[in-house]
Symmetry: C2
Subunit: 339 residues, 2 copies
């Protein structure tokens, strides 16, 4: 578990060692790294003989019910008020805590941050932000060293899940040798990589196939940009929310395109139409800036935003922006077409 | 590069160390591990000051042109006859050498085998067969140790490509900690994992999207078996051979199915219709035996065969066999539905 590349801040270590009753929380719209790191932290603290509770703002997604401890995660209404430390995991800013952070009860409890997002606002009294890690769970593999923790199977399964989901099983460009080393250590500690892949990445309902059939029938390609639209009618017919992450990975592998987009029709709260845009860029290209200009966020290879308007309106205005952005990047940044 | 789990046979090491002019060959219908291991072996031998030539029975696939040394691979007509050793890489039996093995010229030259297939026939004068390795390229990472080779970027890129392609980027069930360790060592030696993923797994022509749209429109699900058919007309419309490996990985992730199949219409040499069947099974299920009974081969999670007949005929006879096979395995082998 020695990964000398990273250093855990002393003040964070001191606070964790001193605390006895700790609340571990993660972010709204939780993903595999949120679940993996919050549960992993709980197992680490318990192995040190401390009391630890995992809490999340939203109900636990059934897909992550396989994680050891998932059944113990509590919601905003079931937290106590006698914690002596709050650890925020995988959260780039305080607003990502959602309803699970109850200011009146928690305001006086020290709060520390462990996160790998470069955009982290350092909102804790101690903050360990390590953007060179591909997942917050990877940071916890590192943390197990100075905390003197012998990683057991439960902990390993949680941490490897965070690493596998955030890197799409080692396919993202931030998959460094240190990521593979952390994953290897978790396998050796008992985590089942094959099971994690099956439970998280390799899962989708049969109806997705017919949804994709309809969506891909209208796949477009124009000047190095490929895109599809997903309507509410198509989603209703499928009976679920689709699988954007997998569809994104398909679109972003098209040889003839350097940028890709999925436009998904949303029903706004007030009934007015809106479109969720999900962008991907190949290495050397950047879709982060455009998403930011459009009121969203993300980073160079993957970003997103939500725009008011109908599918036709939004596609009609955003696709030319993507085409122009790609052309600008080809001309000014030395990016080269990937096909 | 110390992976103490595996032992290189002494007679193989002795023969490699003694030889000075070596022909490295791999199999017909070459895949990423064939290219990666044959080129990796050449770079290893050259770094020891030996002469080494890579030869393959078929022309080099353009997709693997990015591998260092791919441009130097020769075909059956361009081999010499003064080699003092032939190394067969990733080949389970002698017939897999195809036309690149010229018996009259090569019959007297000692031939050794390095391969990870459990079905290997040990057809060399020295044979290193290690089924616990997920790729022959992984075995070469091990071999670099006793040969005292300092792995450089070219060699690392070749070997990591073999590992990534044979494990679908660490998603197959034989991805052990030793696989991740070998991959990590290759990254540290200069291999670019992200580039390899982009060049091998994350590539497909835009026209595949419209092909998939038509194919997935007729996706079926019956009693835990899901399948699609691909007709010659659909392939002609797409203008290429499709991407079975990616389509297989989509079908095998369907929650409601434990077995999946792709039936692809082929035109037999004599004009009579035939169907290529590609099967996948979830953990605990086995499609290897059925493929073997049908005249094909493979192993428990992935197998295939080619059957004479029209698409309708073959689907009509094979799907009930898959359904019956799944039911039998549920009843007799303790396999449990994965959904």
């Amino acid at each position: 578990m020695k990964t000398g590349t990273f250093t855990v801040p002393t003040d964070l270590l001191t606070r964790i060692k001193a605390a006895q009753n700790i609340l571990c929380i993660s972010h709204v719209n939780a993903d595999g790294d949120a679940y993996g790191s919050v549960l992993g932290m709980v197992w680490m603290l318990r192995s040190l003989g401390k009391r630890a509770t995992a809490a999340m703002p939203d109900p636990v997604l059934p897909d992550f019910g396989f994680l050891p401890g998932a059944g113990e995660i509590v919601g905003p209404d079931d937290t106590a008020d006698d914690y002596d430390l709050i650890i925020c995991l995988d959260m780039s800013s305080a607003d990502r805590m959602g309803a699970v952070y109850d200011e009146p009860r928690f305001g006086a409890i020290p709060l520390v941050v462990i996160d790998h997002h470069i955009t982290n606002t350092n909102f804790g009294v101690a903050n360990w932000v390590e953007p060179r890690c591909a997942a917050t769970a990877q940071m916890l593999v590192v943390l197990s060293g100075p905390l003197g923790i012998e990683v057991d199977t439960r902990l390993a399964q949680c941490l490897l899940t965070g690493i596998v989901t955030d890197t799409l099983c080692f396919r993202t460009s931030n998959t460094t040798p240190e990521v593979l080393e952390a994953a290897m250590c978790m396998q050796r500690a008992g985590a089942d990589l094959s099971d994690i892949v099956r439970q998280t990445l390799n899962r989708m309902p049969f109806s997705t196939l017919h949804l994709w059939s309809r969506v891909l029938a209208d796949a477009h390609l124009d000047q190095g940009v490929t895109w599809v639209t997903v309507s509410q009618a198509q989603l209703r017919q499928a009976g679920h929310e689709g699988d954007d992450s997998r569809l994104n990975s398909i679109l972003s592998s098209i040889n003839e395109a350097d940028m890709s987009a999925i436009f998904t029709e949303k029903l706004g709260a007030n009934g007015s139409p809106a479109v969720e845009c999900s962008f991907r860029a190949k290495p050397g290209f950047n879709v982060g800036e455009l998403a930011f200009q459009l009121g969203g966020g993300g980073h160079a290879p993957a970003s997103g935003c939500t725009i008011a308007g109908t599918l036709d309106d939004v596609v009609g205005s955003v696709v030319p922006m993507l085409v122009a952005e790609r052309r600008r990047q080809l001309a000014h940044t030395g990016a080269t077409p990937q096909h």
